[in-house]
Symmetry: D4
Subunit: 222 residues, 8 copies
């Protein structure tokens, strides 16, 4: 039973490289995928790799990994050189949203895009957001990471032009647990044109941003 | 089968008069309750009375009613004289939230409290809120009425001191329909100390505010 | 009680004009908003305006309206001249998804963007999609409109580069009713980087696309 | 990447000091926040700090902490001197609700308010409640903490005047697990004017009470 | 296609006669079932028969029907003579719960059991309940009908011995709509031993009570 | 802060003794309650006491405990002498339902009622049920314990006269996980008159049965 | 905008002809699709066509339609000649499940398969099922149609060999409303190997059966 | 208390042998069931047996077990000899779906059916599916295993004739967690005639396939 098939033509097809979602896989499966990539001298981004699974990988594979424990992402092989900068801002409401923000940042950086992270600007203290608004507005694409009431996304959507991608997080307890309310209010935002990804999906927000950059490149060329 | 029992000692007990929730009752039941009140020369607030049910009431009862079709509230008998003013602000995010805001306003006014209504200050255009912030802050008690993303409640909670009572509304479609996300984010607000009532419950928010005033009176007296 | 406040600086702030969501408003409220806009010689997009409410508007206002009954959208005042074309494809899975696709198309056209609509290409007959794939791929931005299993969005996401905005629809019955499964699978798509808006929110998808065009313009200028 | 920004002007703005919600943060993040506060000689309330995370803090920080393991709250630095007493009653239905009641009590005490806790008065044995009713009624503000059927909140709401703040708890199993039914019946209470906070949110109830005291002070001064 | 099969041996088997649930049937189907019963000189209880469907029945069948429009129940053929009395109390929280209470009462009466109905004793005014408590306690079996917070059921469960059958109702709006919270808190009641039936199921509560009487008869005989 | 108040008059009031629900309590709280009971020479039933919490109790208290690890129930002090037998059958669908069935059995036995347990008679092999049907029918009260499809309860309800109390269990995975479908189909059973308790609530089912026996005693005496 | 594309090669590809789901379409859209089919001399099955929409079709199209108002299905053009018989049994629990059963029957018959319908054999009166069990068992494929507790599907699954396809229905009120519990218990059935389709999806169950027959033909030929 | 009753006539009745679902049972209960089977020289399939529970079985029983840790299935006693081959394809979307696919494969093999497993053909890279389409089409019965968006099932349903059985998996996070969206879109697939089983129920899918082979055998014989 062949267990996996790398989608090697994905970059040519959709402009994004395949990544490995480690949470649903055993350490052995992750190791096999990395070994196959190593054989083809390909690099890979691994998401949701917890420290225990990392520790269970063979040392030779581990040696090729740049690991971030806050976001649980691994770069297997070197990231692409930086090609863009100052184009994407990642804005996070609170400290608890940082793992998701970092996952987005690391996904973008691996693809060669250096994003700006602006943290702890939740709307409970609106001044924290307004004093950094000009800095945020300087980026044509904004990723808003927020849990609980996720009001940051709506407020940003009403204040900045350009693309806004909302990432709800599962932070919180009681009705907030799991992040469904944060997701739903991003979808139901009174600020028009928010684009939303799955709860805690920093990786997906980064991919959406990369798709935008890809499209913008084509529009500029047209 | 005796079908209803007026709770005549309620004002003495909890400082609030009984009101009639008409939505779950037939026109005949509402008429019987009003007639009993008329006999005892009591006045009554009726909520959720739709125009068809109003039209089905006997003319003699209808003649005693001050009806508001936006909020579907009826005053049966005269409201109390105004005893307080400028103490409660009702802040509504959008035009669609006005029926609920009006229900709160009419409930308060019936009890003798003249509230200030500040409408259409949703956060999608934050300047609409900030330019009226001082006016809002002048009221020790604020009722925030908002549906969809309900971000107004969190933003207000972070900007005003004093009591903030959130009323989520069922405005919207898709995930917003029914108002559950608006409710949940008010409960999960990153602004601490929001007090929340049921979806579309302008009446309940007004009662909570009246309870606050009652308590404040006792505290002042102590 | 001032009931509404037009957000006249919205275009300058976020590059999108305010629109009127008619579903939560009475005909009288819609009429008042339109009259105010007429006075200021502004034009307005109205969404979710059902025929009954349209018929209840004063004739003088109705005379200024271009109405589409499939999408229940109204243009109050002339749309902007076409500024872009062939940049956005709206791809709809089935006939039942057309009202939502049309809402997106009309929103874009009102803002001066002529989109291409490609309909009835659901994946149950994959050949319908593949034979039009090159045409779709020619557009840097794709809006995918689908209900029920919403598999179209994932399949498109795996086949096209550029931005993909998913709009789930509430088409269907049983577990599909209301569109939650369609929404959830767009969010959980195995094709990375889908950006999603609320159920049936053709208007929101169009706004997200306009935000993206705005960002692309800035990126091109940078 | 600056990970947090203390909202130092919060007390001036809304009358409440910022607190640290530890559940979504790593021990290292909590330690960094406390260290920053220590540097500015500020004190802080920490909620949802589990014993493992407490044990992982540096000893110098731990030495400044007054910890309560029932409520998992930590006072970092001394609480304010007592300014009010006998104004707030915290009424808990059962032993299992005590952690939440204690969180409310400790939050209030940290802010200088000494609340009265009345425990194990659930309505399954109504006499337990009625024999303490006068004591409860002596407090203008009542916080009702209850899980499972949460009937205590409704019964109290029908018996006491003044402000009633309901805190549903996640106690129980089967349909009760997570506390949603307790929350929903507090919101749908037939006793008018209950103000409700998130499930298990003793901290939030205390903040709502503090907001109310703030408002009452202004009302008394007016 | 034979569309229905009367379960004529049901009384012998489980001590309950078959009833016709009209809501899911066309008027023609109901008429056919009644005609078949008439042919066999059987009588039948019909539940959830709305007035339109009643009006659509042939006059000859309608002539045999005793209809109650509050509960939408029809007796087709005479009820059994009264065999028991004072054994079952039906206690309803509010006027809006009366249709369900009446359905229970009419189901019992049709089977020969005369129940006592005690209405409008919701716990928001606890004195209304306590002044009738002795009367309620005189009945070995109590059916508690309540919606919204359904606190009546828990309070009764803590005050009366004997069997307590809870019937949640779908009265209310917002989170209460549909009756799920009322159902859940009856199931999660802190008063032990409540037996619960489906939302709005007055018929089912009556059948549970009849099953109890059947069992009690056997126990007495043993 | 007094943390608990034993409801000592509960037996006189509702015919049931108070039990201790250990799941929401710390070992220290359970120990304190047991010690207080020991002091008053009272015995107590403890439910949901997991082995770790049992082990953490003081040896002197543990010595008084009869513990069943399948059902996690503890008898603190001797059960009442057997007063009834052959009156209640506990019928369980599968092996996985036995912990709940045993909780019901132990609750009944502690109160002096010896129930008959009939296990592994799920409807997937209907012959297992039918061959024991006469034995089941010999009991006036039947407790049906079933998870997953819970079809056993409906089938029993259609086959036996007398009281049927359904206890849904949380057995299973996927859609069955948590037991909500099992609960819902018991409530929606096409067999009339099922009385239902909370998911996994063997204790509650036993209490409902005891309430019924209490009522039957009064009916027999009347 | 081309609004629909008939999938004319579907029969060759998957052995099933395309059908028109009318519920999500306007009468004009249905008419256009039928007219296009008429032009190509194709016949079509239409599902969920309500009488109002039927009446709104042009008379020339209506003349070609064989309509069944119980199931709201329309045959546009003649059904295929009968090719199979006695191979599929459709077993329905109650009268209220007949519309769905009939939809399955009409879908099968249109494709040339004459199914046997066995109605009103719900498990509340198990004898109704057992007396027809041999007849049911004579069919290698059984479609079980049931709502509310849907216990019929599990009981059948435990009694018959061969393929069993469960169709939950949305019959009922309270927790049963919408059919989710019926669906879930079919999926969680303790009888192994039930195959389930969407709520009320008689059409889908028929298609699943046709797929089985197609596969069986290939297996027999192999 | 007899705790289990093997359904020994199940194969004769429905063509499937009983299997042991270990997740809801203690190791002692599993051991007792296996010992009873051993005594009767019967073999048994055990599902959801985690490694800890396996390790807790007596060595003599463990010696008879062929265990697969990916799928957590155990064969107790030898599988049946292979009777069929190339009739059933198991198609899995991703590596994370393999445990469920393997459970189906092992269930089939134990019953004597050798299935073909085709893995990692999710639609995000459609070419992976299309290049193996002919191989899949060669099997009259296809089991589609997919989580997250589960689009594979719809795409397959539109491409292959013959029976398609969908198994949703609980892979993923955020809205995907638990597998409900994957289940719902399989049920709501626009490809007609998908037959669906419970989330993660590879065993059930295999049983449905075996039922179908049983039916096909009878159809071929007829």
């Amino acid at each position: 039973m062949t267990e996996f098939v790398l989608d090697v033509e994905r970059p040519a097809r959709i402009g994004l490289e395949e990544a490995v979602y480690a949470a649903g896989k055993t350490a052995a499966q992750v190791a096999a995928i990395l070994a196959a990539a190593a054989e083809r001298r390909a690099s890979l981004l691994v998401t949701r790799l917890d420290p225990e699974k990392l520790a269970a990988l063979p040392g030779t594979l581990r040696a090729e990994i740049d690991y971030c424990d806050l976001s649980r992402t691994a770069w297997f092989g070197p990231p692409r050189p930086v090609r863009g900068q100052g184009r994407i801002a990642i804005v996070a409401a609170g400290t608890s949203d940082l793992p998701v923000a970092r996952e987005a940042e690391r996904t973008l950086r691996y693809a060669g895009e250096a994003a700006t992270v602006i943290a702890d600007v939740g709307v409970a203290g609106l001044w924290r957001l307004t004093r950094r608004l000009e800095e945020i507005r300087a980026h044509p694409v904004v990723i808003a990471v927020a849990g609980m009431d996720a009001a940051l996304a709506s407020v940003l959507g009403g204040l900045v032009a350009g693309a806004v991608i909302g990432v709800p997080t599962s932070v919180g307890y009681g009705v907030a647990a799991g992040g469904r309310p944060a997701l739903d209010v991003m979808l139901a935002s009174c600020a028009p044109g928010l684009a939303v990804v799955n709860i805690d999906n920093g990786y997906g927000a980064a991919c959406a941003a990369l798709r935008f950059l890809h499209a913008a490149g084509r529009l500029a060329g047209a």
